[in-house]
Protein backbone atom coordinates (compact mmCIF):
# COMPACT_ATOMS: atom_id res chain seq x y z
CA UNK A 1 0.00 0.00 0.00
CA UNK A 2 1.32 3.47 -0.76
CA UNK A 3 2.48 5.74 2.03
CA UNK A 4 1.96 9.48 2.08
CA UNK A 5 2.98 12.46 4.14
CA UNK A 6 0.24 14.94 4.95
CA UNK A 7 2.34 18.02 5.61
CA UNK A 8 1.21 21.08 7.53
CA UNK A 9 3.09 24.32 6.97
CA UNK A 10 3.79 27.30 9.20
CA UNK A 11 3.98 29.35 6.00
CA UNK A 12 4.30 29.01 2.24
CA UNK A 13 1.95 27.27 -0.16
CA UNK A 14 -1.03 28.64 -2.09
CA UNK A 15 -2.88 31.78 -1.05
CA UNK A 16 -4.83 30.97 2.17
CA UNK A 17 -8.49 30.27 1.46
CA UNK A 18 -9.40 31.71 4.84
CA UNK A 19 -6.81 34.03 6.41
CA UNK A 20 -6.83 33.80 10.24
CA UNK A 21 -4.74 35.34 13.04
CA UNK A 22 -2.18 33.19 14.92
CA UNK A 23 -3.78 30.56 17.15
CA UNK A 24 -2.69 32.26 20.39
CA UNK A 25 -5.07 35.08 19.45
CA UNK A 26 -8.11 32.84 19.09
CA UNK A 27 -10.83 32.49 21.72
CA UNK A 28 -9.83 29.85 24.33
CA UNK A 29 -12.70 27.52 23.32
CA UNK A 30 -11.56 27.66 19.67
CA UNK A 31 -8.03 26.76 20.75
CA UNK A 32 -9.40 23.77 22.66
CA UNK A 33 -11.49 22.59 19.73
CA UNK A 34 -8.53 22.88 17.37
CA UNK A 35 -6.15 20.88 19.59
CA UNK A 36 -8.82 18.27 20.26
CA UNK A 37 -9.29 17.83 16.52
CA UNK A 38 -5.54 17.21 15.99
CA UNK A 39 -5.62 14.45 18.59
CA UNK A 40 -8.80 13.08 17.08
CA UNK A 41 -7.16 12.79 13.63
CA UNK A 42 -4.35 10.64 15.01
CA UNK A 43 -6.77 8.44 16.92
CA UNK A 44 -8.97 8.06 13.86
CA UNK A 45 -6.01 7.08 11.67
CA UNK A 46 -4.93 4.55 14.28
CA UNK A 47 -8.43 3.10 14.48
CA UNK A 48 -8.57 2.83 10.67
CA UNK A 49 -5.22 1.08 10.54
CA UNK A 50 -3.85 3.93 8.41
CA UNK A 51 -1.52 5.58 10.94
CA UNK A 52 2.25 5.30 10.56
CA UNK A 53 3.74 8.30 12.31
CA UNK A 54 3.04 11.88 13.34
CA UNK A 55 5.59 14.54 14.24
CA UNK A 56 5.66 18.27 14.81
CA UNK A 57 8.62 20.56 14.09
CA UNK A 58 9.62 23.72 15.91
CA UNK A 59 9.68 26.84 13.71
CA UNK A 60 13.41 27.42 14.27
CA UNK A 61 15.38 26.66 11.11
CA UNK A 62 19.11 26.51 10.39
CA UNK A 63 20.45 26.14 6.84
CA UNK A 64 23.80 24.34 6.77
CA UNK A 65 26.31 23.60 4.05
CA UNK A 66 29.77 22.11 3.78
CA UNK A 67 32.30 24.86 4.39
CA UNK A 68 35.07 23.33 2.30
CA UNK A 69 38.19 21.45 3.36
CA UNK A 70 39.36 22.30 6.89
CA UNK A 71 36.58 24.85 7.25
CA UNK A 72 33.71 24.86 9.69
CA UNK A 73 30.21 24.19 8.33
CA UNK A 74 28.55 27.32 7.03
CA UNK A 75 25.22 28.01 8.67
CA UNK A 76 22.51 30.59 8.39
CA UNK A 77 19.50 30.72 10.64
CA UNK A 78 17.79 33.66 9.10
CA UNK A 79 16.31 35.97 8.40
CA UNK A 80 14.47 34.04 5.72
CA UNK A 81 11.98 35.61 3.35
CA UNK A 82 8.50 35.53 4.84
CA UNK A 83 7.29 33.65 1.78
CA UNK A 84 9.70 30.73 2.16
CA UNK A 85 8.18 27.36 2.87
CA UNK A 86 8.31 26.20 6.49
CA UNK A 87 7.00 22.74 7.39
CA UNK A 88 5.24 22.53 10.77
CA UNK A 89 4.67 18.79 10.99
CA UNK A 90 3.07 15.78 9.38
CA UNK A 91 1.07 12.64 9.58
CA UNK A 92 2.50 9.68 7.74
CA UNK A 93 -0.27 7.40 6.52
CA UNK A 94 -0.44 4.04 4.83
CA UNK A 95 -3.52 3.90 2.62
CA UNK A 96 -5.12 2.06 -0.29
CA UNK A 97 -4.83 4.80 -2.88
CA UNK A 98 -3.96 8.35 -3.74
CA UNK A 99 -7.68 9.15 -3.62
CA UNK A 100 -7.82 8.03 0.00
CA UNK A 101 -4.81 10.22 0.85
CA UNK A 102 -6.54 13.23 -0.73
CA UNK A 103 -9.73 12.45 1.16
CA UNK A 104 -7.84 12.31 4.47
CA UNK A 105 -5.94 15.53 3.69
CA UNK A 106 -9.23 17.30 3.04
CA UNK A 107 -10.54 16.00 6.35
CA UNK A 108 -7.41 17.31 8.13
CA UNK A 109 -8.02 20.67 6.43
CA UNK A 110 -11.54 20.84 7.83
CA UNK A 111 -10.03 21.35 11.33
CA UNK A 112 -11.90 23.98 13.31
CA UNK A 113 -10.51 27.54 13.40
CA UNK A 114 -11.85 30.78 14.90
CA UNK A 115 -15.59 30.66 15.70
CA UNK A 116 -15.51 26.91 15.14
CA UNK A 117 -15.54 27.40 11.36
CA UNK A 118 -13.27 25.16 9.24
CA UNK A 119 -9.75 26.48 8.63
CA UNK A 120 -9.59 25.37 4.98
CA UNK A 121 -5.82 25.06 5.54
CA UNK A 122 -3.80 23.87 2.52
CA UNK A 123 -2.34 20.42 3.21
CA UNK A 124 0.71 19.31 1.23
CA UNK A 125 0.26 15.65 0.15
CA UNK A 126 3.49 13.88 -0.77
CA UNK A 127 3.90 10.24 -1.75
CA UNK A 128 6.82 8.34 -0.22
CA UNK A 129 8.90 6.41 -2.74
CA UNK A 130 9.11 2.71 -2.19
CA UNK A 131 10.37 -0.28 -4.05
CA UNK A 132 7.61 -1.87 -6.10
CA UNK A 133 7.42 -5.65 -5.97
CA UNK A 134 8.96 -7.16 -9.10
CA UNK A 135 6.89 -9.53 -11.16
CA UNK A 136 9.85 -11.35 -12.68
CA UNK A 137 13.56 -11.36 -12.05
CA UNK A 138 14.07 -9.91 -15.50
CA UNK A 139 11.94 -6.87 -14.83
Amino acid sequence: MPKYLLLKHYRGGPEPHRPVPPIDQWAPEDVEAHIAFQNHVSELLEKNGEYVDAQALTPARTWVRYGGPDAAPVTTDGPHPETSDLVAGWWMIDVDSHERAVELAAYVSSEPGPAGEPLYEWIDVREIMWERPRTTDAA
Binding site: P22, I23, D24, Q25, W26, A27, P28, D30, V31, E32, I35, A36, Q38, N39, V41, S42, E43, L45, E46, Y51, A54, Q55, A56, T58, P59, A60, G89, W91
Partner: protein, 410 residues
Protein backbone atom coordinates in the same frame (compact mmCIF):
# COMPACT_ATOMS: atom_id res chain seq x y z
CA UNK B 1 8.49 -13.49 22.14
CA UNK B 2 7.79 -13.00 25.82
CA UNK B 3 4.20 -12.96 26.85
CA UNK B 4 2.96 -10.37 29.26
CA UNK B 5 1.99 -12.32 32.40
CA UNK B 6 5.36 -14.05 32.42
CA UNK B 7 7.11 -10.77 32.06
CA UNK B 8 5.30 -9.21 34.93
CA UNK B 9 5.85 -12.25 37.12
CA UNK B 10 9.64 -12.28 36.86
CA UNK B 11 10.87 -8.92 35.83
CA UNK B 12 11.36 -7.10 39.12
CA UNK B 13 13.21 -9.84 40.96
CA UNK B 14 15.19 -10.77 37.88
CA UNK B 15 16.37 -7.27 37.10
CA UNK B 16 17.38 -6.61 40.69
CA UNK B 17 20.00 -9.34 40.25
CA UNK B 18 21.63 -7.77 37.21
CA UNK B 19 24.20 -5.47 38.86
CA UNK B 20 25.39 -8.17 41.26
CA UNK B 21 25.87 -10.78 38.57
CA UNK B 22 27.54 -8.41 36.15
CA UNK B 23 29.84 -6.92 38.77
CA UNK B 24 30.83 -10.45 39.79
CA UNK B 25 31.83 -11.28 36.22
CA UNK B 26 33.76 -8.06 35.70
CA UNK B 27 35.55 -8.32 39.05
CA UNK B 28 36.63 -11.83 38.14
CA UNK B 29 38.46 -10.33 35.16
CA UNK B 30 35.94 -10.69 32.36
CA UNK B 31 35.81 -7.94 29.78
CA UNK B 32 32.94 -5.54 30.59
CA UNK B 33 31.65 -5.60 27.02
CA UNK B 34 31.59 -9.37 26.65
CA UNK B 35 30.25 -9.90 30.17
CA UNK B 36 27.40 -7.50 29.60
CA UNK B 37 26.44 -9.16 26.33
CA UNK B 38 26.55 -12.57 27.95
CA UNK B 39 24.37 -11.45 30.85
CA UNK B 40 21.89 -9.87 28.47
CA UNK B 41 21.52 -13.23 26.73
CA UNK B 42 21.20 -14.99 30.05
CA UNK B 43 18.42 -12.59 31.03
CA UNK B 44 16.41 -13.27 27.90
CA UNK B 45 16.90 -16.96 28.51
CA UNK B 46 15.72 -16.59 32.11
CA UNK B 47 12.55 -14.83 31.01
CA UNK B 48 11.85 -17.73 28.69
CA UNK B 49 12.74 -20.61 30.99
CA UNK B 50 12.00 -19.56 34.57
CA UNK B 51 8.21 -19.57 34.39
CA UNK B 52 8.31 -23.35 33.87
CA UNK B 53 11.59 -24.13 35.56
CA UNK B 54 12.09 -21.69 38.41
CA UNK B 55 15.68 -21.87 39.65
CA UNK B 56 16.56 -22.59 43.26
CA UNK B 57 19.19 -19.86 43.30
CA UNK B 58 18.40 -17.22 40.66
CA UNK B 59 21.64 -15.30 41.18
CA UNK B 60 23.80 -18.38 40.68
CA UNK B 61 21.69 -19.48 37.71
CA UNK B 62 22.26 -16.18 35.93
CA UNK B 63 25.98 -16.15 36.76
CA UNK B 64 26.37 -19.70 35.48
CA UNK B 65 24.43 -19.19 32.26
CA UNK B 66 26.21 -15.91 31.58
CA UNK B 67 29.57 -17.58 32.19
CA UNK B 68 28.72 -20.35 29.77
CA UNK B 69 27.74 -17.76 27.22
CA UNK B 70 31.13 -16.15 27.67
CA UNK B 71 32.88 -19.46 27.22
CA UNK B 72 30.72 -20.26 24.22
CA UNK B 73 31.40 -16.91 22.66
CA UNK B 74 35.11 -17.42 23.09
CA UNK B 75 34.91 -20.79 21.39
CA UNK B 76 32.61 -19.38 18.70
CA UNK B 77 30.20 -22.20 19.45
CA UNK B 78 27.34 -20.06 20.58
CA UNK B 79 24.55 -22.27 19.38
CA UNK B 80 25.77 -25.41 21.10
CA UNK B 81 24.22 -26.55 24.37
CA UNK B 82 21.81 -23.66 24.43
CA UNK B 83 18.68 -25.65 25.08
CA UNK B 84 19.85 -28.12 27.68
CA UNK B 85 21.88 -25.72 29.71
CA UNK B 86 18.95 -23.40 29.99
CA UNK B 87 16.82 -26.00 31.69
CA UNK B 88 19.60 -27.74 33.60
CA UNK B 89 21.57 -24.82 34.81
CA UNK B 90 21.22 -25.55 38.50
CA UNK B 91 24.61 -24.35 39.51
CA UNK B 92 26.69 -24.79 42.57
CA UNK B 93 25.63 -22.48 45.33
CA UNK B 94 27.76 -20.36 47.58
CA UNK B 95 29.94 -18.41 45.20
CA UNK B 96 31.86 -15.75 47.08
CA UNK B 97 30.00 -12.48 46.89
CA UNK B 98 30.63 -8.89 47.83
CA UNK B 99 27.89 -6.78 49.41
CA UNK B 100 25.22 -5.87 46.92
CA UNK B 101 25.64 -2.10 47.30
CA UNK B 102 29.31 -2.18 46.27
CA UNK B 103 28.37 -3.90 43.03
CA UNK B 104 25.81 -1.26 42.14
CA UNK B 105 28.23 1.55 42.80
CA UNK B 106 31.02 -0.21 40.93
CA UNK B 107 28.83 -0.66 37.85
CA UNK B 108 27.40 2.85 37.98
CA UNK B 109 30.94 4.22 37.94
CA UNK B 110 31.71 2.01 34.90
CA UNK B 111 28.60 3.05 32.99
CA UNK B 112 28.90 6.74 33.82
CA UNK B 113 32.50 6.92 32.69
CA UNK B 114 33.40 10.57 32.00
CA UNK B 115 34.68 9.70 28.51
CA UNK B 116 31.17 8.66 27.43
CA UNK B 117 28.63 11.05 26.00
CA UNK B 118 25.56 11.52 28.23
CA UNK B 119 23.28 9.54 25.88
CA UNK B 120 25.67 6.60 26.07
CA UNK B 121 25.99 6.84 29.84
CA UNK B 122 22.23 6.69 30.14
CA UNK B 123 21.79 3.80 27.71
CA UNK B 124 24.53 1.74 29.32
CA UNK B 125 23.27 2.43 32.84
CA UNK B 126 19.78 1.29 31.91
CA UNK B 127 21.11 -1.93 30.43
CA UNK B 128 23.93 -2.90 32.76
CA UNK B 129 22.49 -1.62 36.04
CA UNK B 130 18.78 -1.41 35.26
CA UNK B 131 18.62 -4.68 33.35
CA UNK B 132 16.42 -3.26 30.58
CA UNK B 133 16.66 -4.89 27.17
CA UNK B 134 18.02 -3.00 24.17
CA UNK B 135 14.51 -3.00 22.70
CA UNK B 136 13.07 -1.40 25.84
CA UNK B 137 15.75 1.29 25.92
CA UNK B 138 15.19 1.99 22.22
CA UNK B 139 11.45 2.39 22.89
CA UNK B 140 12.20 4.75 25.76
CA UNK B 141 14.21 7.02 23.48
CA UNK B 142 12.06 6.57 20.35
CA UNK B 143 14.89 5.27 18.21
CA UNK B 144 15.10 2.04 16.19
CA UNK B 145 16.52 -0.90 18.21
CA UNK B 146 19.46 -1.23 15.79
CA UNK B 147 20.43 2.38 16.54
CA UNK B 148 20.36 1.78 20.27
CA UNK B 149 22.28 -1.50 19.93
CA UNK B 150 24.98 0.35 18.01
CA UNK B 151 25.11 3.14 20.58
CA UNK B 152 25.51 0.63 23.39
CA UNK B 153 28.23 -1.37 21.69
CA UNK B 154 30.19 1.77 20.81
CA UNK B 155 29.95 2.89 24.42
CA UNK B 156 31.21 -0.45 25.60
CA UNK B 157 34.19 -0.21 23.28
CA UNK B 158 35.17 3.00 25.09
CA UNK B 159 35.11 1.03 28.31
CA UNK B 160 37.26 -1.80 26.98
CA UNK B 161 40.46 -2.36 28.89
CA UNK B 162 41.05 -2.58 32.61
CA UNK B 163 37.67 -2.09 34.28
CA UNK B 164 36.82 1.04 36.18
CA UNK B 165 40.17 2.70 35.76
CA UNK B 166 38.72 5.99 36.95
CA UNK B 167 36.87 4.56 39.89
CA UNK B 168 36.54 6.88 42.85
CA UNK B 169 38.01 9.88 41.17
CA UNK B 170 36.56 13.09 42.53
CA UNK B 171 33.55 14.15 40.52
CA UNK B 172 32.60 10.65 39.44
CA UNK B 173 29.67 10.45 41.79
CA UNK B 174 28.47 13.80 40.48
CA UNK B 175 28.40 12.28 36.99
CA UNK B 176 26.45 9.27 38.23
CA UNK B 177 23.91 11.55 39.89
CA UNK B 178 23.53 13.62 36.75
CA UNK B 179 23.01 10.49 34.64
CA UNK B 180 20.33 9.18 36.99
CA UNK B 181 18.59 12.54 36.96
CA UNK B 182 18.71 12.52 33.17
CA UNK B 183 17.06 9.09 33.17
CA UNK B 184 14.37 10.52 35.47
CA UNK B 185 13.65 13.60 33.37
CA UNK B 186 13.67 11.60 30.13
CA UNK B 187 10.77 9.68 31.62
CA UNK B 188 8.61 12.79 31.34
CA UNK B 189 9.26 13.80 27.77
CA UNK B 190 8.58 12.51 24.30
CA UNK B 191 8.34 13.89 20.78
CA UNK B 192 5.00 12.32 19.81
CA UNK B 193 2.13 14.42 18.67
CA UNK B 194 -1.48 13.42 18.55
CA UNK B 195 -1.73 9.70 19.02
CA UNK B 196 -1.05 8.13 22.38
CA UNK B 197 2.62 7.30 22.81
CA UNK B 198 3.63 3.68 22.31
CA UNK B 199 4.16 1.52 25.35
CA UNK B 200 7.51 2.36 26.80
CA UNK B 201 9.23 1.54 30.06
CA UNK B 202 8.60 3.94 32.94
CA UNK B 203 11.99 5.62 33.12
CA UNK B 204 11.03 7.88 36.03
CA UNK B 205 10.28 4.83 38.17
CA UNK B 206 13.44 3.14 36.94
CA UNK B 207 15.52 6.19 37.89
CA UNK B 208 13.98 6.15 41.39
CA UNK B 209 14.78 2.45 41.71
CA UNK B 210 18.40 3.03 40.68
CA UNK B 211 18.76 6.06 42.96
CA UNK B 212 17.44 3.99 45.84
CA UNK B 213 20.05 1.33 45.11
CA UNK B 214 22.69 4.03 45.01
CA UNK B 215 21.72 5.34 48.45
CA UNK B 216 22.29 1.86 49.84
CA UNK B 217 25.79 1.92 48.39
CA UNK B 218 27.03 5.34 49.47
CA UNK B 219 26.55 7.69 52.40
CA UNK B 220 27.02 10.74 50.20
CA UNK B 221 24.14 13.07 51.14
CA UNK B 222 23.72 14.27 47.55
CA UNK B 223 22.74 10.74 46.51
CA UNK B 224 19.93 10.87 49.07
CA UNK B 225 19.19 14.42 47.98
CA UNK B 226 18.67 13.20 44.43
CA UNK B 227 16.43 10.33 45.53
CA UNK B 228 14.38 12.76 47.63
CA UNK B 229 14.10 15.20 44.73
CA UNK B 230 12.82 12.47 42.42
CA UNK B 231 10.31 11.17 44.96
CA UNK B 232 9.01 14.64 45.82
CA UNK B 233 8.50 15.54 42.15
CA UNK B 234 7.19 12.13 41.14
CA UNK B 235 4.55 12.38 43.87
CA UNK B 236 2.90 15.24 41.99
CA UNK B 237 2.89 13.48 38.64
CA UNK B 238 -0.68 12.11 38.87
CA UNK B 239 -1.97 15.70 38.98
CA UNK B 240 0.32 17.06 36.27
CA UNK B 241 -2.01 16.20 33.36
CA UNK B 242 -5.79 16.31 33.20
CA UNK B 243 -7.77 13.41 31.70
CA UNK B 244 -7.44 14.98 28.22
CA UNK B 245 -3.64 15.14 28.53
CA UNK B 246 -3.52 18.88 29.18
CA UNK B 247 -0.78 20.26 31.43
CA UNK B 248 -2.07 21.51 34.78
CA UNK B 249 0.25 24.02 36.44
CA UNK B 250 1.25 23.56 40.07
CA UNK B 251 -1.05 26.31 41.34
CA UNK B 252 -4.13 24.64 39.76
CA UNK B 253 -3.35 20.99 40.52
CA UNK B 254 -5.73 18.84 42.55
CA UNK B 255 -3.48 18.25 45.54
CA UNK B 256 -5.62 15.31 46.57
CA UNK B 257 -4.09 13.40 43.65
CA UNK B 258 -0.57 13.79 44.99
CA UNK B 259 1.01 10.61 46.31
CA UNK B 260 1.17 11.21 50.07
CA UNK B 261 3.20 8.07 50.68
CA UNK B 262 5.86 9.13 48.19
CA UNK B 263 5.97 12.63 49.69
CA UNK B 264 6.45 11.17 53.16
CA UNK B 265 9.31 8.98 51.95
CA UNK B 266 10.88 11.91 50.08
CA UNK B 267 10.77 14.11 53.17
CA UNK B 268 12.27 11.34 55.31
CA UNK B 269 15.11 10.75 52.84
CA UNK B 270 15.72 14.49 52.55
CA UNK B 271 15.88 14.94 56.32
CA UNK B 272 18.47 12.19 56.64
CA UNK B 273 20.51 13.84 53.87
CA UNK B 274 20.33 17.31 55.41
CA UNK B 275 21.40 15.89 58.79
CA UNK B 276 24.88 15.34 57.32
CA UNK B 277 25.26 19.15 57.02
CA UNK B 278 26.87 18.88 53.58
CA UNK B 279 24.29 20.59 51.39
CA UNK B 280 24.40 20.39 47.61
CA UNK B 281 22.17 21.22 44.68
CA UNK B 282 20.02 18.08 44.80
CA UNK B 283 19.32 18.47 48.51
CA UNK B 284 18.42 22.13 47.97
CA UNK B 285 16.17 21.39 45.02
CA UNK B 286 14.54 18.61 47.02
CA UNK B 287 13.95 21.05 49.89
CA UNK B 288 12.18 23.42 47.48
CA UNK B 289 10.09 20.55 46.11
CA UNK B 290 9.24 19.52 49.67
CA UNK B 291 7.95 23.02 50.48
CA UNK B 292 5.65 22.90 47.45
CA UNK B 293 4.46 19.41 48.40
CA UNK B 294 3.85 20.55 51.95
CA UNK B 295 1.39 23.34 51.05
CA UNK B 296 -2.26 22.34 51.44
CA UNK B 297 -3.16 24.89 48.75
CA UNK B 298 -1.25 27.09 46.32
CA UNK B 299 -2.03 30.12 48.52
CA UNK B 300 -0.40 28.47 51.52
CA UNK B 301 2.92 27.95 49.73
CA UNK B 302 5.78 29.14 51.93
CA UNK B 303 7.41 31.37 49.31
CA UNK B 304 9.82 33.15 51.73
CA UNK B 305 11.34 29.79 52.69
CA UNK B 306 11.49 28.75 49.05
CA UNK B 307 13.29 31.99 48.24
CA UNK B 308 15.78 31.32 51.03
CA UNK B 309 16.60 27.91 49.51
CA UNK B 310 16.96 29.49 46.07
CA UNK B 311 19.42 31.96 47.58
CA UNK B 312 21.47 28.96 48.72
CA UNK B 313 21.14 27.35 45.30
CA UNK B 314 22.45 30.32 43.34
CA UNK B 315 25.24 30.73 45.89
CA UNK B 316 26.65 27.35 44.81
CA UNK B 317 28.09 28.82 41.61
CA UNK B 318 30.31 31.85 41.13
CA UNK B 319 28.44 33.24 38.14
CA UNK B 320 24.95 31.79 38.45
CA UNK B 321 23.52 33.71 35.48
CA UNK B 322 25.90 31.86 33.19
CA UNK B 323 26.60 28.68 35.13
CA UNK B 324 23.15 27.92 36.51
CA UNK B 325 20.55 30.09 34.76
CA UNK B 326 17.74 27.64 35.60
CA UNK B 327 18.31 28.33 39.30
CA UNK B 328 18.26 32.10 38.73
CA UNK B 329 15.01 31.74 36.77
CA UNK B 330 13.44 29.64 39.52
CA UNK B 331 14.53 32.21 42.05
CA UNK B 332 12.94 34.98 39.98
CA UNK B 333 9.54 33.27 40.40
CA UNK B 334 10.08 33.08 44.16
CA UNK B 335 11.15 36.75 44.22
CA UNK B 336 7.96 37.59 42.31
CA UNK B 337 5.83 35.89 44.97
CA UNK B 338 7.71 37.33 47.96
CA UNK B 339 8.70 40.84 46.86
CA UNK B 340 6.21 41.42 44.07
CA UNK B 341 5.94 40.65 40.38
CA UNK B 342 7.92 43.73 39.30
CA UNK B 343 10.90 42.61 41.38
CA UNK B 344 10.63 39.14 39.85
CA UNK B 345 10.57 40.54 36.33
CA UNK B 346 13.64 42.61 37.13
CA UNK B 347 15.42 39.39 38.10
CA UNK B 348 14.53 37.78 34.77
CA UNK B 349 16.03 40.76 32.92
CA UNK B 350 19.49 39.60 34.00
CA UNK B 351 18.89 36.36 32.10
CA UNK B 352 17.74 37.88 28.82
CA UNK B 353 21.08 37.37 27.13
CA UNK B 354 21.48 33.76 28.28
CA UNK B 355 17.90 32.46 28.17
CA UNK B 356 16.10 34.98 25.97
CA UNK B 357 15.61 32.42 23.24
CA UNK B 358 14.26 29.67 25.52
CA UNK B 359 10.58 29.07 26.01
CA UNK B 360 10.82 28.81 29.79
CA UNK B 361 12.18 32.32 30.18
CA UNK B 362 9.20 33.73 28.30
CA UNK B 363 6.78 31.47 30.17
CA UNK B 364 8.10 32.68 33.54
CA UNK B 365 7.74 36.28 32.41
CA UNK B 366 4.19 35.52 31.30
CA UNK B 367 3.46 34.16 34.77
CA UNK B 368 4.99 37.21 36.47
CA UNK B 369 3.13 39.65 34.21
CA UNK B 370 -0.08 37.82 35.06
CA UNK B 371 0.75 38.04 38.76
CA UNK B 372 1.22 41.77 38.17
CA UNK B 373 -2.21 42.05 36.54
CA UNK B 374 -0.70 43.02 33.18
CA UNK B 375 -2.67 40.64 30.97
CA UNK B 376 -1.68 42.03 27.54
CA UNK B 377 2.02 41.63 28.44
CA UNK B 378 1.29 38.16 29.84
CA UNK B 379 -0.49 37.10 26.63
CA UNK B 380 2.35 38.18 24.40
CA UNK B 381 5.00 36.59 26.66
CA UNK B 382 3.07 33.28 26.60
CA UNK B 383 2.76 33.51 22.81
CA UNK B 384 6.52 34.08 22.52
CA UNK B 385 7.07 31.09 24.79
CA UNK B 386 4.75 28.90 22.67
CA UNK B 387 6.74 29.75 19.54
CA UNK B 388 9.90 28.46 21.24
CA UNK B 389 8.51 25.34 22.90
CA UNK B 390 10.15 22.07 21.98
CA UNK B 391 7.49 19.79 23.41
CA UNK B 392 3.94 19.49 22.12
CA UNK B 393 2.19 19.36 25.48
CA UNK B 394 4.11 22.48 26.57
CA UNK B 395 3.41 24.25 23.30
CA UNK B 396 -0.31 23.56 23.52
CA UNK B 397 -0.32 24.64 27.16
CA UNK B 398 1.39 27.95 26.35
CA UNK B 399 -0.96 28.66 23.43
CA UNK B 400 -3.86 28.11 25.85
CA UNK B 401 -2.28 30.40 28.44
CA UNK B 402 -1.85 33.11 25.79
CA UNK B 403 -5.44 32.76 24.57
CA UNK B 404 -6.77 32.70 28.14
CA UNK B 405 -4.85 35.84 29.18
CA UNK B 406 -5.95 37.66 26.02
CA UNK B 407 -9.60 36.65 26.50
CA UNK B 408 -9.53 37.81 30.14
CA UNK B 409 -8.57 41.36 29.22
CA UNK B 410 -10.39 41.68 25.88
Amino acid sequence: MIDEPTRRLDEGALRALVPRVLAGLVRRGEDFDAAEDALQEALLEALRVWPEHPPRDPHAWLATVATRRLVDARRSEVARHRREEATQAEPRAGEPTTPEGDDTLFLLFCCCHPDLAPVSQVALTLRAVGGLTTQEIADAFYVPPATMAQRISRAKRVLAGPPARRLDQPGDLAVVLRVLYLVYTTGHTGPRMGARPPRRPDLAREAIRLARQLTLATDEPEARGLLALMLLNHARLPARLDPDGRIVTLDRQDRGLWDAREIAEGVRVLQSALAAHRPGRYQIEAAIAALHDDAASAEETDWPQILAWYDDLVALTEDPVRQDPAAVLGRAVAVGHVLGAAAGLLETDRLREVLGDRHRWHAVRGHLHELDGDLPAAASAYAEAARRATNIAERDHLVRQAARARAAWA
